[in-house]
Symmetry: C2
Subunit: 164 residues, 2 copies
C-alpha cells in the first residue's frame, strides 16, 4: 500500500510518500512546499494545494495521513491560519478520492519512537533508521511527514487497527 504523509503549514508543508511492501517500508519521495510569505493568504493556500495535487497525481497514494492540528495554540488566529493550509491539503486529497486519516502529533511520535513526547531530533533519527535512508531528510517537516506515513502504515497493517 502506498501512503502519503503530510505535515501542513502555511510557511512550510512537508510531504512524504512511502510504499508498504509486506511490512517493509520504502521511501519514495519527500519534500516541502514553501509558499512565498509575502503573497496574500489565498495565493499561499493555492500554492500548497497545487503542490500537493502534483505529488498525488504522480504517486497516486491509497491513503493520506495528515497531522491533526493540535490545540496548543494560544491564539485562535494561528489555529485558523493553520486550518487554511490543512484544508488545502484535504481538498487535494478529496479531489483524488484519497481517504484522509488524521493523527495527533503525540500519536505519531509514539508510533515511530515509542514516546509521545519525543523531540524533533528523535523523530528524525527514528525515520532515518526505519526507512533505511542514506541521509537525513531536511527540513524537519519532511521527517514529520515520513513519520506520519509510517504511523499510518502501522495502524493500517495492525490486526487490531483502530483509527482515532
Amino acid at each position: 500500500m502506498r501512503i502519503i504523509g503530510v505535515d501542513p503549514g502555511l510557511n512550510r508543508t512537508g510531504y512524504a510518500v512511502i510504499d508498504d511492501v509486506g511490512g517493509r517500508w520504502v521511501a519514495l519521495e519527500g519534500g516541502v512546499c514553501q509558499p512565498d510569505s509575502s503573497e496574500p493568504l489565498e495565493k499561499r493556500v493555492l500554492a500548497i494545494y497545487r503542490d500537493v495535487r502534483e505529488v498525488l497525481e504522480e504517486y497516486k497514494p491509497a491513503a493520506m495521513a495528515l497531522e491533526e492540528l493540535h490545540s496548543r495554540y494560544e491564539f485562535p488566529k494561528t489555529a485558523i491560519l493553520m486550518g487554511h493550509a490543512r484544508a488545502a491539503v484535504c481538498l487535494a486529497a478529496a479531489e483524488f478520492g484519497i481517504p484522509v486519516v488524521g493523527y495527533a502529533p503525540s500519536r505519531v511520535k509514539n508510533a515511530v519512537t515509542g514516546s509521545g513526547g519525543a523531540s524533533k531530533e528523535q523523530v528524525l533519527a527514528a525515520v532515518v533508521a526505519q526507512l533505511g535512508l542514506a541521509k537525513a531528510p531536511k527540513p524537519f517537516d519532511v521527517a514529520d511527514a515520513f513519520a506520519l506515513a509510517i504511523c499510518h502504515a502501522m495502524v493500517a497493517s495492525s490486526p487490531i487497527a483502530r483509527v482515532k
Copy 2:
C-alpha cells in the same frame, strides 16, 4: 463593479453577488452551500470549494469580500474547522485570480446598520432595504454574505478607502 460576499462555514457557507452600478447596488444572486455533515471533513471542504467555484465561474466578480474569522472561539478546534471552510473559499478565488478582502463581522455590521453590535435581524433588515429586495433572503448566512458585499462596495467606492 461586481462583488461577491462570502460568509464561510463548514455547515453553511453563504454567498451573495451584487453589482455596484454607480453607487446603486443590485443583487444578482444569493445562496448557501450546505455540505452533508455526515461526510468526512475533506469531502465537506470539497463541496464548498466546488460550489463557490461554480458561482465565480458564472458571475466573474472583480473582488471577494470574505468574513474574517473572529477570535471569539473558545476552542481552537472550532477555529481550525472554520479555517478549513474559509480556505476552500480562498482557494477558489485564488484560482480565478480574484482578490480577497477580509472584513471583521463588527465592521460589516457597522457598514450596513451603523452599529458594530447589530443583531442578525438588524443586518437582514438593512440588507433588504439597501438592496431593495422583494423578500428577505434566508438563511441568515445569505444576508450576511450580502452585507459583506455591500461593505466592500462602500469601502472600494470611498475616496478615502482604507482596507484593514
